[in-house]
Symmetry: C2
Subunit: 369 residues, 2 copies
């Protein structure tokens, strides 16, 4: 997508030197646009672990490129295979709960194993890294091409009046390689000239909506307004929201959706006001082993200081301010689960389906038990 | 209530000099406890307008004391009555939408008018100011004595296990003269040795929960945890909330409640999880002229910078940090309306009633049409 009118993806091979991988260091957004060169496994470890890159799709793509860099590093070692394997172990530890990380590394190990000599293995790793990234972007693009139908229908019903879409957190292109999931239909609608406006939940405690989603939409010139997370219910009561669309971190086969904390509250408000609520996600996010999301999905508790302190720009510098009494106790739950009964539909790269076991199996018949 | 183990109210006559009124300058909370002397109408104008004092009950009490100071100032003027009246006009402009402000000033004007000579008028104004403050504190105390029944019943059902109470914003003693409304039953429960724990919504955008409610509870040693506003739904899904109690800025006669933005979302989550949701308020907050809160109550839009910037302590100083792109548009709705159907009961100084026209009239039979 666009950054200062230039097209970017979130990760790519450096122009003129395909031994170096470049990323956007997302820690500085929205206030500074910083690119970073990654040319060693150690660089990747730091970038993934310290969240220069984040988001399911992008972590997978970064792991793919990391393994390509690992093969180049291994070429100078006494045992190539041993070195590549050691790198894979180190990389898997950087974000142990990220499903896509392990998946991408395993895919690379399998691909590399099919090569005969070192140069061929390096070449296969490069090809696989590019394939993972390309597939991620293509999947997101297809989510946009399916999701656009929903927006177009609302636009028709409103005779072309502005379609107001509320989103929570960042399921944007910054979390993937391009397009994003929740944002893909939004970008497609904007491209087709449909009048849209996006309500961007700031998404406390880490403010991914205020920091990242707003920055993305600003660069794509999509009209939008940042709001406190408390606001969506009031907007829905007053007819100011036509649909809600968010991403998900995990979807059970019954279509309960774990997503950023607060998503459930917006789903309740959407239901109470008869507003459609959609979840957009790539197939890789579906956890076919789970049914009841509230009982089965383990919710990560994060550092309480993310609640007590807020980060932002102050006098031109990144600062954090304390918003509670210093001695106050805080709790920080990362995600909540939106039950399937509150979800109007699931949008994946294969199409749109009802939020149920049955609905999902119509898109994924091969997953029938 | 307690501050550093000493008892305070939010406004009082200075010890040893009853011509001076003292307040807690709440702008510095929770990081500094600052008291301020107010000895002129101009002092009061600034204190009310710039929110050294805030909250319905406290604004009313401050207006009462301001009129007492106005009579002392008027004593040296050529026309006493003219001077008092001019002060009343100035004071009414400081927070034009605060119902209690106008009510307290009018009550003072009536009281002062019954006096014959200047000293008697000053004395009446002082007596009335003290009466307004005392009545506010007494009303809040009675809310606590009624609301405690609900907490005691839950505690009994849980065999003395911790009762988890969620609250939103600050309907604490800092918003009144003492005790608060939503907090009054909490303080009463703590006093009686009932095991309680309070989930404190930080309450973006102005963070009154993180800044004020947490500070109050900390000083009273009531166990509590500050959470992002997004969190309550998840806690309720997992049995971690036994009841919700908030204040209200306006209650219609059908019991729709306007309160700080985000209250409606918590009420929806409480309903979805069968958790009782109570509104605590003094009778003065009931607007008998309105029925349908969503249609009739006008919701104030405030400065979008309250969303874009977050204030807090940084390197020992008050600072604000920008959390969105500088160019981003933000919207800031101050309140939302929780429909009566989501409210389990209303707690006023007269007792607890069902959240309906009928329920309210059982407590206020004189308001039958």
């Amino acid at each position: 997508m666009l950054v200062n009118d230039q097209h970017y993806q979130t990760i790519w091979l450096k122009e003129g030197n395909d031994k170096i991988v470049q990323i956007i260091d997302q820690r500085f957004l929205p206030h500074r646009f910083v690119m970073e060169d990654l040319s060693s496994v150690h660089d990747f470890e730091r970038a993934i672990c310290e969240m220069h890159v984040r988001g399911a799709g992008l972590i997978g793509a970064a792991a793919g490129f990391a393994m390509y860099v690992a093969t180049m590093e291994a070429a100078s070692k006494t045992s190539f295979d041993e070195s590549v394997f050691q790198s894979s172990v180190l990389l898997k530890k950087t974000r142990p709960t990220a499903v896509n990380l392990e998946w991408a590394i395993n895919r690379q190990l399998e691909a590399i194993a099919t090569g005969k000599e070192i140069n061929e293995k390096i070449s296969l790793a490069k090809k696989t890294a590019l394939a993972i990234a390309t597939e991620d972007a293509a999947g997101c693009h297809r989510i946009g091409l399916h999701g656009i139908d929903i927006i177009e229908e609302i636009s028709r019903k409103k005779n072309g009046d502005t379609v107001n879409i509320l989103t929570h957190c960042n399921a944007g292109w910054l979390a993937f390689v391009d397009y994003g999931t929740a944002t893909a239909p939004i970008y497609e609608a904007h491209k087709r000239g449909i009048n849209i406006h996006v309500w961007v939940d700031e998404t406390r405690p880490r403010n991914q909506g205020a920091n990242l989603t707003s920055w993305e939409l600003l660069n794509e010139q999509v009209p939008h307004t940042v709001i406190a997370d408390n606001t969506g219910g009031h907007l829905m009561q007053h007819g100011l929201v036509d649909m809600v669309i968010t991403g998900a971190d995990r979807l059970t086969r019954n279509c309960d959706a774990a997503n950023k904390i607060g998503t459930y509250l917006k789903a309740l408000a959407a239901k109470d006001n008869n507003i459609p609520f959609y979840i957009a996600l790539p197939s890789s996010t579906i956890d076919w082993s789970m049914r009841d999301g509230i009982k089965e999905i383990n919710i990560e508790e994060r550092d309480p200081d993310e609640v007590k302190y807020v980060h932002g720009l102050c006098d031109g510098e990144w600062k954090k301010v304390l918003i509670t009494p210093a001695e106050a106790k805080a709790a920080n739950y990362g995600f909540d689960v939106t039950p399937a009964r509150l979800i109007s539909g699931i949008i994946t790269e294969r199409g749109i389906c009802a939020a149920s076991d049955k609905g999902l199996l119509e898109l994924y018949p091969e997953m029938k038990l």
